[in-house]
């Protein structure tokens, strides 16, 4: 029995179908990440789980209980929003304690729970401030703290890190991962950030236009994508898709990750000219305009001094290549 089960959940806004039948099982204690392009329905699906949006069809089960018709407060969930959504008129302490107060928990118990959560997130010195007196990172920590205090069956996160700057994002990401380990709670996390998905998830759910494309552990999706969409979506920089016919293969297209494409100044299987080079220190990205295969990306480790307009040859590592048919489905 899973901590969260979605059975054939659909959602339409008027005539537009946004969620087109999603089935999903999230196990107890699992960190599940929803990824997908903008507008594919990640937030809508999360809001249906939370009960903030009614599903047009299907059922939502949390911890074995059918909650499809229950209001959000009765679902024993907690949610962290991108915009923090702290109550502006309450202190940090009261923000964190409000849900328990609403549920009629004794005051001493609320204080104990808030202090425990504050300890986990190092919020101690901020407890009596108002949200307006906190920085963005502190506000998001308070919002996470508010979620912890309730000890919910299920944590929901909707792009919680998108409003933070790069350094803070890494720090908060690590904090969330640590919390997940310490609490052992079930979490559902929406993001469009590759790195967050790969580093945090036990399992990734790739969504496209309201449908689940593939579900699997990060490395499963990376090493064994089901179709061109997942192959292109997971991994950064994006996978190269080559016209397989031109290379004498029987598949329609062949996917090769930038790190599995060898480059040499001599000749290769595919000839081309360098159109751009990005040097990142630890790695170098070379963009090659090829004859017949379009623009391909090559990822090299360490520093390399390729220059623009140099003629090069590319050779794909065929043992690591993926083959897809005309419909974009993987051929094994």
């Amino acid at each position: 029995m899973g901590a969260l089960t979605l059975s054939n959940v659909t959602k339409s806004f008027g005539a537009t179908d946004v969620i087109k039948g999603v089935d999903l099982e999230v196990n107890e204690g699992e960190f599940c990440v929803f990824v997908g392009p903008s507008g594919c329905g990640k937030s809508t699906l999360l809001r249906i789980i939370a009960g903030l949006e009614d599903a047009s069809g299907g059922a939502v089960t949390i911890d074995g209980r059918d909650v499809t018709l229950l209001p959000p407060a009765k679902r024993e969930i907690a949610m962290v929003f991108q915009s923090y959504a702290l109550y502006p008129h309450l202190s940090v302490r009261d923000n964190m304690g409000l849900a328990l107060k609403q549920a009629g928990v004794a005051r001493a118990e609320i204080a104990a729970a808030t202090d425990r959560a504050a300890g986990m997130l190092a919020l101690g010195p901020l407890m009596d401030r108002r949200p307006a007196e906190l920085s963005g990172g502190q506000r998001q920590r308070v919002a996470i703290g508010r979620a912890i205090v309730r000890t919910p069956k299920l944590f929901l996160f909707d792009e919680p890190l998108s409003n933070l700057d790069a350094a803070l994002r890494v720090q908060t990401r690590i904090e969330i991962a640590r919390l997940h380990r310490d609490l052992g709670a079930t979490m559902v996390y929406v993001t469009h950030d590759q790195v967050e998905a790969m580093t945090l998830a036990d399992r990734i759910v790739v969504l496209r236009a309201g449908r689940v494309e593939q579900v699997g552990a990060p490395m499963e999706l990376y090493n064994d994508p089901a179709n061109t969409f997942v192959a292109g979506f997971i991994g950064s920089p994006q996978m190269n898709f080559l016209k397989a016919g031109a290379l004498g293969m029987r598949s329609d297209s062949m996917g090769v990750r930038p790190e599995h494409l060898a480059i040499s100044r001599g000749t290769g299987q595919i000839a081309g000219k360098i159109s751009h080079v990005e040097k990142l220190g630890g790695e170098t990205l070379v963009y090659v305009m090829t004859d017949g295969q379009g623009l391909l990306t090559v990822r090299l480790f360490g520093e390399h001094d390729y220059t623009v307009d140099e003629a090069v040859g590319l050779t794909p590592d065929l043992s690591r290549a993926f083959h897809f048919d005309a419909a974009g489905l993987r051929m094994r």
């Binding site: 809001r47 939370a50 903030l52 209001p71 959000p72 407060a73 969930i77 907690a78 949610m79 929003f81 991108q82 915009s83 923090y84 959504a85 702290l86 109550y87 502006p88 008129h89 409000l98 849900a99 609403q102 549920a103 108002r130 949200p131 307006a132 007196e133 906190l134 963005g136 506000r139 508010r146 409003n163």
Partner: protein
């Protein structure tokens, strides 16, 4: 440095424009107030002069306070204005919240219907209103005025407030729902404080026409015990002789409460509210 100076210059220009406007706008009020402290002869000989010991006279105030039940009028006006304002803001905000927050069939139509009242003056319905008030026995009560003014103020209140409520963060309301707040708590403790500046604007726009209205008090509540101050002041304006001292004194006194209420609301308008709720 040059930039600082040009900034300074622009600020002077802006202040000059604003001060000129203030002087023009306040001039009639100023004339009313200074003349209310002068004798009748001085009002007519030198209307723009400030009162001097020779021309200073409180006869106007004395007349006003002696004749008629001025404090009663004052109290009536206060009750009608404050009660109408309260109901307009309460019901207006609630209707605006429903229109902006909930998706239901006929939402848009309902919004348009409620906004229609902005364009159609309520006075067109005076006869029907009077008939209703007679039928329900509300003629010559303050309740009649409060009901009419509430109806008069609602369309603009709903229109302005629903625009502002659309801008309140959905995440904030949803966080409240997840934490188990009722829709009423969400409305009163989360949404209303965030639209306080809009509420203050609506309050000012609603209050002034109510305080100044002569039409409905004259028709619906002309009895002595329920006269408003605007109606009460009319006794000094006669067909043949107008007691200018008394009229000016009554007007000066009538300005005061409006001024006080305006000051209360404008502080709300300016107060930097709730930074940091979101973002």
């Amino acid at each position: 440095m040059a930039q600082a100076r040009s900034h300074f210059g622009r600020s002077i220009a802006a202040h000059a424009v604003l001060l000129t406007y203030t002087v023009i706008a306040l001039f009639p009020v100023f004339v009313i107030v200074i003349n209310s402290f002068k004798s009748r002869k001085a009002i007519f000989s030198e209307p723009l002069a400030v009162p001097t010991p020779a021309t200073f006279d409180l006869i106007g105030y004395a007349t006003v306070l002696k004749q008629g039940d001025f404090f009663q009028y004052f109290q009536n006006s206060m009750i009608v204005t404050v009660a109408s304002l309260f109901f307009v803001l309460l019901f207006g905000a609630m209707a605006a919240f429903a229109l902006s927050e909930y998706r239901f069939r006929g939402n848009l139509m309902m919004g348009l219907y409620l906004a229609l009242g902005i364009m159609i003056p309520i006075r067109l319905g005076t006869v029907a209103i009077l008939q209703m008030m007679v039928a329900s026995g509300l003629v010559n009560t303050l309740a009649a005025l409060i009901l009419v003014y509430t109806a008069q103020g609602l369309p603009l209140a709903v229109f302005i407030l629903s625009e502002f409520m659309k801008q309140v963060s959905d995440d904030l309301k949803n966080a409240g729902r997840i934490d188990g707040l009722s829709e009423y708590r969400i409305f009163f403790t989360l949404v209303l404080p965030l639209v306080r500046p809009a509420m203050a604007t609506v309050a000012v726009f609603t209050m002034i026409p109510i305080w100044n209205d002569l039409w409905f008090p004259l028709i619906l509540a002309p009895a002595e015990s329920v006269k408003t101050i605007t109606l009460g002041s009319q006794v000094f304006i006669g067909q043949f002789v107008t007691n200018w001292n008394a009229v000016l004194a009554a007007l000066s006194l009538a300005i005061l409460p409006v001024l006080v209420m305006y000051l209360i609301f404008s502080r709300q308008l300016i107060r930097g509210i709730t930074a940091g709720a979101v973002k």
